[in-house]
């Protein structure tokens, strides 16, 4: 099965096409979406097992030799990301059955999700820089549909900003690839890495490195380029917000990680120092935002930005601990953000508002929701047995090893701010007296919404508790990042 690594990309793509034939039959759409995602999940677990036993999987499309055709590469890092993406999508899809509304489901909601997953998995798996651009566009165009679907006034306004920002960043992406191609003369990522090593990264390559950082920084929301994210993400309904928050920025983070560990590793004093300073500023900006708002959505959205900073800070260390921590924290953050968005979606459903000041006393009526939220909040902040702990420990360890003491202290202090921001939601929404009359909600819908939320929280807890068992996989992923020659040898087979 040399095509195995393509299955998590092809299967959602295939089911998205099939769904286009059943525009009006909502039940058929739901069933087919779940079947397609289940198949993809099986394929991605199979892929992880294969990568674990046989090393990096590569296939060059069209039977061409490696640097000439488009190579798809699945190392442990991308296999883990692909699997996490599919797990999250399954639960968010189940959550949307009861919350998104039939009107949206009738208008290509599920095909758009599946097309977006195609793009995300493709961007995680590709070994060709221009092919990565194409997969970015696949996921972005699907996300344009998702952000505007429903056509509320706010969605229309924010989608204009979102599309404008992303069109500009895509144009810069093309320009950056054009510069790189004119100097290096190849688009295959392994081959680019070899050629940059040969010419020992002159100044112009460092300029291109910063250009790539700007491009992926707009997609992944790092410090001066995150301005579009808080308002745009708050516009669409909760399931779409959960998908965006858990997956989209992480594709940008993945792309920065890949390019900064594979291509631009010869002038670390400049490029990685720059990345590190930006990531610290990202954390600080996110912390300010997370404390400033009394709106549930905004608080969690600014926590996305903090997490992006933490992961990139781990990447900028360029030592094994830092990279391992970044991989572990990246997967943790995808899962926990999906869980948190689904949970606050249920809080908003139960109270009918997203303003913290108008809430109170929910623990008396919605006890399960409260405790689940508390576990997810502790997991996000990194309380030891839960999932956020180990990643941050490894990242700070890597930073101390690299003598970046101030940076690691900022990371540790940011954990406190994160904890404060999410516990504030808990205190305002769940404690105290009940302020407003709760709107009457259907108990069955509520239980249907709770199921995916509980499952996601359980998965994050298992991810934290089972760290010992998962660590070999993280080590495999970090080894490829720390030593580009493994990746290059697997692709070019010399």
């Amino acid at each position: 099965m040399i095509n195995l690594l393509l299955f998590p990309i092809i299967i959602p793509f295939f089911f998205a096409m099939i769904l286009m034939f059943f525009k009006e039959q909502v039940v058929v759409q739901r069933v087919l979406t779940l079947i397609g995602l289940a198949f993809s999940l099986v394929a991605s677990f199979w892929l992880i097992a294969t990568v674990k036993t046989e090393g990096i999987q590569t296939v060059t499309l069209g039977s061409w030799p490696a640097p000439f055709g488009i190579t798809m590469v699945s190392d442990m890092f991308s296999a883990l990301l692909v699997t996490t993406t599919i797990i999250i999508t399954i639960f968010v899809a189940i959550y949307s059955f009861s919350s998104i509304g039939v009107e949206r489901e009738r208008f290509f909601y599920y095909p758009a999700i599946l097309f977006m997953i195609t793009g995300i998995n493709g961007a995680f798996t590709t070994g060709d820089i221009f092919n990565m651009f194409v997969f970015f566009e696949v996921l972005l165009i699907a996300s344009y549909l998702l952000i505007v679907l429903g056509g509320e006034k706010r969605q229309l306004r924010e989608s204009i900003k979102y599309i404008l920002v992303n069109v500009i960043s895509s144009a810069i992406f093309v320009v950056a690839v054009a510069y790189l191609y004119s100097i290096i003369g190849t688009l295959n990522m392994a081959d680019i890495s070899v050629k940059i090593a040969e010419i020992n990264q002159p100044g112009i390559i460092s300029v291109i490195a910063i250009l790539f950082l700007i491009v992926f920084g707009i997609k992944g929301a790092i410090f001066p380029l995150y301005f579009w994210l808080p308002n745009s993400y708050a516009a669409p309904p909760i399931p779409i917000l959960a998908l965006f928050g858990a997956l989209l920025t992480k594709v940008g983070v993945y792309a920065i990680t890949r390019t900064y560990t594979l291509f631009f590793v010869h002038d670390i004093g400049f490029t990685h120092q720059f990345l590190m300073v930006l990531s610290l500023l990202t954390i600080i900006a996110g912390c300010i935002g997370a404390l400033a708002y009394f709106d549930l959505k905004q608080i969690i959205i600014y926590n996305i930005i903090i997490a992006v900073g933490v992961i990139l800070f781990g990447v900028a260390q360029m030592n094994t601990s830092g990279l391992e921590g970044a991989v572990y924290y990246l997967l943790h953050d995808m899962l926990i953000k999906a869980a948190l968005f689904v949970l606050i979606g249920i809080v908003i459903y139960a109270t009918g508002t997203s303003n913290l000041r108008e809430m109170g006393g929910l623990i008396k009526t919605h006890a399960t929701l409260g405790w689940m939220y508390l576990i997810a909040a502790f997991g996000l902040a990194g309380i030891p047995p839960l999932s956020g702990f180990l990643g941050k420990v490894l990242i700070t360890k890597g930073a101390f090893e690299a003598d970046h003491v101030i940076g690691s202290i900022i990371i540790l202090v940011s954990s406190l701010v994160v904890l404060l921001s999410v516990i504030r939601i808990f205190i305002y929404a769940f404690w105290g007296p009940q302020k407003n009359e709760l709107p009457i909600r259907d108990q069955r819908t509520y239980r249907q919404m709770m199921f995916p939320a509980i499952m996601l929280v359980v998965i994050t807890v298992a991810y934290g508790v089972g760290a010992e068992w998962l660590m070999p996989y993280m080590t495999d992923a970090a080894n490829v990042l720390a030593d580009p020659s493994i990746y290059i040898n697997a692709v070019l087979k010399e």
Partner: protein, 140 residues
């Protein structure tokens, strides 16, 4: 006053077939000469657009009673199916096959599965372009 488009409509009826045949020619020429699925599809769209200018949108829907969204989906399936066929022979995805055949009317012809992929592209381009035109022009 009711406008009389008799010259435009008569000319459009004739010119439509010329453009359509040219688009088919461009589509088949793609392997050895400039052309292919994308320009072929756009030219076909252009031909249909000419009919839309000469007549109204309802008439066009009557003479071309296709669901263009479904046409896009069929095109995508054709393209993916061509590329995925290689999975069953356990060769890398997108590996094409070709061969020379003696066909009754065409004589000695070389056939390539890239043609099937191109027809998928053709259907997607026609389907999505007409869907865009119909949904913008159809709003009253």
């Amino acid at each position: 006053m009711k406008t009389n488009d008799v010259i435009l409509q008569t000319a459009a009826k004739v010119v439509f077939f010329i453009i359509f045949l040219f688009s088919i020619h461009i589509f088949f020429a793609g392997h050895y000469a400039p052309g292919g699925g994308f320009v072929g599809g756009l030219l076909t769209t252009g031909a249909i657009l000419l009919l839309l200018l000469a007549f109204d949108i309802r008439t066009i829907q009557q003479i071309l009673p296709f669901n263009f969204t479904v046409m896009t989906a069929i095109g995508l399936l054709l393209a993916l199916g061509t590329a995925a066929g290689s999975i069953f022979f356990n060769v890398p995805f997108f590996t094409h096959a070709f061969g020379d055949f003696d066909l009754p009317l065409f004589g000695h012809t070389s056939l390539h599965t890239a043609m099937l992929f191109d027809s998928g592209v053709y259907l997607v381009v026609v389907g999505s372009a007409i869907t865009i035109i119909q949904s913008i022009g159809g709003d009253d």
